[in-house]
Structure formats: C-alpha cells, structure tokens
C-alpha cells in the first residue's frame, strides 16, 4: 500500500491536519476521516454536484479531488456556511422557498450558489440555471431552487455577507 501522507489544510477557517492515502478523495476524507458528513456523495464521478466544496475559493466537486492535493490549501464546506449559529441567507431562502425535499443535493446547491453570488450578486434566472447546471436534484425540481437563490441574492445583507 502506498504510504499515508500528512496533509495540512485550512477547513472553514480552522487548521486541520489529517492522514490519508493518495488514493482517497477529498470527499472520502471529509466524510470518513474528519466526520464532516454535511458534504454529500451522490455519483462519485463529477456529474451530480452533491459533493461541491470550495477549494482555494473555487467551487469544485470533492469526489474528483485527491485529498493529498489540498495540502496547504483552504477548503470551505457546508459546515462553515452558517454564521455563529445563524443560518446563511441562502440556507434561509432554501427553507422558506421549500427548495429541498430529501435534502441530499442541498449542501452542494448551497455551496455552488454561494460561489455564484460571490461572483455575480444579481444573477438573472438564466445565470442561475447555467451556474447550477452541474448540480442535480432528483426530487424538488429546479424552479424552487432557482427562486430560493434569487430570494437569497436580494437578502445578502446579514452578518454573513462578508463571508460569502
């Protein structure tokens, strides 16, 4: 077996060191080693977006990132989205607009939407649908999700705004 590596990274603002095998993905390490199960596994091949996190500020699917690659990097996950126990406007908007049913796709949608709003604070419906094309939802349908993102975009004035 290939030697395990020590990886030092910053996850949600906190320094985290972990041990992993080269063949482990970031998704596996988040869920199985670090017990951060907020990030979901859907397809494991990059198609569904359930495992979306931000790596050095860019949205990526963590099932297609090797954990050893994140040495020295910053990672943001769904666990870091709420601000001191207060839900992020996106999280609020998903609840208020009933933009989830089973919820397995939701962390990925929230992480991806967060990247969208950081890049484009006033996205059109088309912008939202395009930016979220790499995230699949099999139960809610996309209309409510799009509406939730539009709703959140209009309300990004809470304490969490600086964190977007």
């Amino acid at each position: 077996m290939a030697k395990k590596r020590i990886v030092s990274t910053t996850i949600n603002g906190t320094q985290r060191d972990f041990l992993c095998e080269p063949r482990q993905t970031l998704l596996e390490v988040l869920r199985d080693t670090l017990d951060m199960t907020g990030t979901k596994e859907g397809c494991s091949n990059g198609n569904c977006g359930a495992c979306t996190v931000q790596l050095n500020g860019r949205p990526v699917v963590s099932c297609l990132v090797l954990a050893v690659e994140v040495d020295g990097a910053t990672v943001e996950t769904i666990e870091g989205v709420a601000c001191n126990g207060t839900l992020h406007p996106l999280q609020d908007a998903f609840l208020n607009n009933a933009a989830l049913q089973c919820g397995i796709c939701t962390p990925g949608f929230i992480m991806q939407s967060k990247s969208l709003l950081a890049e484009n604070p006033n996205p059109s419906e088309h912008d939202i649908r395009f930016y979220l094309a790499g995230n699949l939802c099999r139960c809610t349908g996309y209309d409510k999700i799009v509406r939730a993102v539009q709703d959140a975009a209009g309300k990004m004035s809470s304490c969490c705004e600086a964190k977007v």
């Binding site: 080269p22 860019r58 990526v60 395009f130």
Partner: protein, 291 residues
C-alpha cells in the same frame, strides 16, 4: 479506489524523471476530472500519479509577440475569465466555458482535455482551428508538434513513455480574424458533443472575402478531424451563403461517425454540415467585430 502513489514535482525535469522511472505505470494528472474517475472504474491502473500543477510552467498564461502561451494545467475558468484571451481566441474560450459545469471548469485543463484524447473533446477542434503548437517534454528534451497530428485514436496520442505536455502555444491573432466553437447536444449544458465544430477565419480588409480558414470537427471520427477541403472551399471566395454552404458540405463529406445512443451515423453527418456552416457564420461575424 485502486492503490497508487502520488508525487507533486515542481520542475519539468523532475516530472520527466518520475514518469520515465515508472515506465508506463506513472500517469500525469492536471485537474483530475478525467483521471480520477478512470482510475476509480479501473480503466487506468497507474502505480504513480504525478500531479503536474505545481510546476510553474504548467500554469502560465502569458502573452508574447508571437501569441499566447497556455500552461497545460491551466484550468478552463482562467481562460474565459480573461477578457484578452476571450477576445483573441474566442473558439477556445467557447470550448472552455462548456466543458462540464462550473465545478469541472475550476479544475479541468485544456492540456488534460487534449491528452485524454477523447474523440468528442470540446477544446481540441478549437486548438486545431487556432493553429496551436503542443510543447512536449520528455527524456530526450523538448519537442514541438502541431496539434493537428497529436491525437491518433480514441484515448490515444503521440506521447511516448516519459513524455508529457508542458504548454500550448497559440499564434498571434491575425487582423480581421475571428473564431468560434459550437457543439450539438440534446441538453443545454453538461453533455458530450454529438458533433463539435471549431472554426477560425481571416477576412480581407473590407471583410468581404475569406483570406484564410481552418476548420476542425469533433465526435465524428475516431479522433478530431482537420477539415481541409472545407477550409479550401472558403479561401479566396467571397463571404456568402453559397460559399459557406459548400464548406458545410465538404465537412459533412469527411465525417465518419459511429452510431450510438447520442446519434445515428446519418444524423451526425447531417448535423456536421449544418453546424459547420453555422460556426463559420459566427466566426465571420466575430472577424467583422461582432461578439
């Protein structure tokens, strides 16, 4: 996933040495968006994955008098976020913006798209249309080849053991030139091309006649095709519906697609003709200063 070791060299020489010492069992990795899944499902069985993103040459995006140098590991989003690159090499940024979704584009590189050598790779027809040169490093030093001859079959290319792609060089954009890439897919995004067409054209000063053209087709043969007859049908001719139609016909004539769930042979050939004409039209509009 299958067990493998990992190395992240910081120089080209070190990477060549690692690749060479493991013979065929070492595999370069840029964004990993093809590689990681291929290892997971057992299509690739490397003993060593060589992460090439930490090598400075592999992430350059640099202008020179001769054009643009694109490090082989530069991810797609860096290309289309750069207004200068978008203006000069629009076909390539058209491609970069449709490879997977945004998350994939954060990691997926043009070098990886080329080296994966899928017949439907979305950036390869654009690289061909734009006249890219592939810079390859290996045990014997560095060599440069035209991208036209790089892919040799599905998943196959001219790289020898120990070699990897360092960068792609795009020649400076000519005055009155324009380029475009489009693919036909049943969805709006996140799908594999049924047909892909990359075109670059140069017009005369008045914008009325074709002076130069290069056309490449994806997904209609075992490897991306250079549509020479289609380009010839344009060069020296006036920009007109009839000329463009002829070029479309010439492109259709060289398509040798397969039948699969994405489209029948007949359908793919038909789409090749239509799409080629459309993409030429778009490249013409851009050569004339349009978007």
């Amino acid at each position: 996933m299958r067990d493998f070791d990992y190395a992240a060299p910081t120089t080209v020489a070190e990477a060549v040495q690692l690749l060479q010492s493991h013979k065929g069992a070492a595999r370069p990795m840029a964004g990993g968006t093809d590689l990681i899944d291929q290892v997971r499902v057992g299509r690739l069985t490397p003993d060593l994955v060589v992460d090439i993103k930490k090598i400075p040459e592999l992430t350059v995006l640099e202008w020179s008098a001769n054009g643009l140098r694109i490090g082989a590991a530069v991810p797609c989003y860096r290309l289309y976020h750069d207004p200068k690159v978008t203006a000069a090499y629009t076909a390539l940024t058209d491609s970069a913006a449709i490879i997977g979704g945004i998350q994939i584009q954060s990691r997926a590189s043009i070098g990886g798209n080329l080296c994966n050598s899928g017949p439907a790779a979305d950036s390869t027809p654009s690289l061909i249309a734009l006249g890219a040169i592939v810079v390859i490093a290996g045990p014997q030093g560095t060599r440069e080849v035209s991208v036209d001859t790089f892919c040799t079959g599905p998943g196959k290319n001219i790289l020898e053991p120990g070699e990897f792609v360092v960068e792609l060089k795009l020649p400076a954009r000519a005055a009155k030139s324009g380029s475009a890439y489009q693919r036909f897919i049943p969805r709006n995004e996140m799908d594999i091309a049924v047909v892909g067409v990359g075109v670059s054209v140069t017009l005369d000063a008045a914008g009325q006649n074709f002076v130069a053209a290069k056309i490449a087709l994806g997904a209609v043969a075992a490897k991306p095709l250079v549509a020479e007859a289609a380009a010839k049908a344009l060069i020296g001719q006036p920009v007109s519906e009839a000329t463009i139609q002829k070029a479309g016909e010439a492109a259709r004539a060289i398509a040798t697609p397969i039948d699969d769930m994405r489209g029948t042979i007949e359908f793919r050939k038909h789409v090749t003709g239509i799409l080629t004409a459309r993409v030429i039209q778009q490249a013409v509009e851009r050569a004339r200063g349009g978007k």
